[in-house]
Subunit: 283 residues, 2 copies
C-alpha cells in the first residue's frame, strides 16, 4: 500500500486509528479463558479474541498493529496465533494496513532475515525498526517495494528521555538526528516514524524535520497522550498520522461483550478523528 492509497483509505474510513493487538492471555475475557485457555488451547484462544476484536473494530480503523512480544512469549502457540491473525485480516479486511510492531534491528545479514520473516513469510505492510545500529541495520527492511519501515524516533515512554533527548554538539537531539539522517536512506513513501503521543509540543520539532512523513503515534489512551494535541501539531495535508490505541480499546470490557465494547470504543475514537479531519478540510 503506497502513501496515496493509505491517505485515500483514511478518507474513506474517516479515521486514522490503528488498533494495537497486544493480546495478553491473562487479560482475555472469562468466556475465552474457559473455552480455550483452561483447556490448554492458547493459540486458539488468542486467535478467537483477535478475530472478534478485528471484526468489531474494522469499520472504525485503518490499521492493525500486533506487538510481537505478546505472541513470542507463548512460543509456538503465540506464533501460530500471530500467523492466523495476520492471514485472517488479510483475507477478511484486505484494505487494512498491517504493522508488525517488532522494534528489530541488527547487522545487515541478520536484519535481512527479520525482513524476510515479517514482510515476506508473514505479509505485513510495515515493521517497526530501532535505529541504534544505523543505516546498514535498516536498509534490508527498505528493499521491499510497497512495504514500509517505521523507525523509532521519539518513543512514548519515560525512558525516551535517557538517550533520545540528548543534545549533540550542534544542538541537535538524538531523535532529531535519527529523523534527519534516515531521510537519506529512504523516501517518505517507504519510511514512517514512531513519535509518542505523550511528547506533546515536541511534535512541532518532529514536523520541522519530517513535514511529509507518516507518523505512527502510540501512547493515546492508557499511556495518557491526547489525540487533540497530537493532531494540533502533527496533522499534515495528507493526514500523516496513524494514531494507535491498544489497551483502551481491546480490554475495554472483560466480559462476554468484549468485542462489542471494543467496537464502541473504536467508534468513539473514529468519531473524534472524523471531526478533526473535517475541521482541517481533509474530508
Amino acid at each position: 500500500m503506497n502513501k496515496h492509497e493509505l491517505f485515500d483509505f483514511i478518507r474513506r474510513q474517516r479515521s486514522f486509528l490503528c488498533v494495537g493487538l497486544d493480546t495478553d492471555v491473562k487479560k482475555l475475557p472469562a468466556c475465552l479463558q474457559e473455552e480455550y485457555i483452561a483447556k490448554g488451547q492458547t493459540a486458539e484462544g488468542i486467535f478467537a479474541f483477535n478475530r472478534a476484536i478485528v471484526d468489531a473494530t474494522a469499520p472504525y480503523c485503518v490499521a492493525y498493529k500486533p506487538n510481537l512480544a505478546f505472541y513470542e512469549c507463548f512460543g509456538l502457540a503465540g506464533w501460530t496465533a500471530l500467523e492466523e491473525t495476520v492471514r485472517y485480516i488479510r483475507a477478511n479486511h484486505p484494505e487494512h494496513f498491517l504493522i508488525a510492531d517488532a522494534k528489530r534491528g541488527d547487522i545487515g545479514n541478520t536484519s535481512a532475515m527479520y525482513a524476510r520473516a515479517l514482510l515476506e513469510s508473514l505479509p505485513f505492510d510495515a515493521i517497526t525498526v530501532a535505529p541504534y545500529m544505523g543505516e546498514d541495520s535498516v536498509q534490508p527492511f527498505l528493499q521491499y517495494e510497497g512495504k514500509w519501515v517505521v523507525l523509532l524516533a521519539l518513543t512514548s515512554n519515560k525512558g525516551s528521555h535517557d538517550f533520545q533527548m540528548e543534545e549533540g554538539r550542534d544542538g541537535q537531539r538524538l531523535f532529531e538526528r535519527v529523523l534527519s539522517k534516515s531521510q537519506a536512506w529512504g523516501s517518505d513513501e517507504q519510511l514512517m516514524y514512531v513519535v509518542g503521543a505523550t511528547q506533546g509540543r515536541l511534535f512541532e520539532d518532529v514536523r520541522r524535520l519530517a513535514p511529509r512523513h507518516f507518523l505512527l503515534v502510540p501512547g493515546v489512551g492508557a499511556q495518557g497522550g491526547s489525540l487533540e494535541e497530537v493532531c494540533q501539531y502533527g496533522l499534515t495535508d495528507e493526514c500523516g498520522l496513524l494514531v494507535n490505541s491498544s489497551r483502551a480499546i481491546i480490554y475495554a470490557s472483560g466480559e462476554s461483550d468484549f468485542a462489542q465494547v471494543a467496537g464502541e470504543k473504536a467508534r468513539e475514537v473514529q468519531t473524534a478523528m472524523e471531526r478533526i479531519l473535517q475541521t482541517r478540510g481533509l474530508i
Copy 2:
C-alpha cells in the same frame, strides 16, 4: 550463572569462545539439505545441524548464541528448532552459557513479555537488548535473578558510526552515555555490553567506563575483527570477554564433515584463547 561461575567455567574450558548459532537453512550442508529440507522438514534440518555443531564445539567454547532472526524467518518451524536447540544444550551441555541474541527493547509492559518469552519460557541465561528506549525498556529484563542483560553499546557494523559515535555537548559519545547511564540500572553481575571486535582501540574507552563488566564481542572472523587486539584492550583479571564467532565456525565446511571441521575451527580459536589466558596469568 553468576559472574564468578562464568569465570570459573572459562578457566576450566581454557576458552572464552561463544559460538553463534546463526543457522541459515540455505547454507546447510548438502547432506542435511537432502535428508531434511528437500522433504519439507525445516525444523528437523535446522535442529540436526545445530545439534551436530554443538556436540562438536562444546569442548572448546563456553557459550552459545542463537540469533533469533535466523529462526523467526521460518515461522513455526524456526521457533520449534530454536526451542529444541535450547533444550538440547541445557540437557546435554548444562554448563554452557546461553545467550538469546534478540536485540529487543520496548515500553515496560512489552519488554516484560519479551523477558518472559526468552528468560522464562525458554531458559536462556542472557538476552541482548537495544538501549534506544531507555531505562524502563531495559528494567523488565533485569528482574530475573541469575540472568543477564547484554546491552548494545558499540556494535560491530558500519552503521555503528551513524549514532553511537555521536558526541554530546559534554563530549561524551552516545555509546559512552549508554555505558555510564546503564550502570545505575543494574550491577556488573547482571549487565554485560555488546562491543564489536571491529572497534579496535575504542575498547580502551569502553574499559575506562566499564572496567569490570563482561563484554560480548561479535565481529571476530567473517566481519574482520582481531582476537589479539580485542584481548589487548578488553581483557580483565576475570577475563571479562565472551568473543563470538558464527559463520567462520559453523559454515567452515559445507560437506558431510561440517561438524568435525566446525569443531576443528573452534579448537583453533580455543587454542589461541588458551595462550592469551596463560600469558595474562588467568589460568
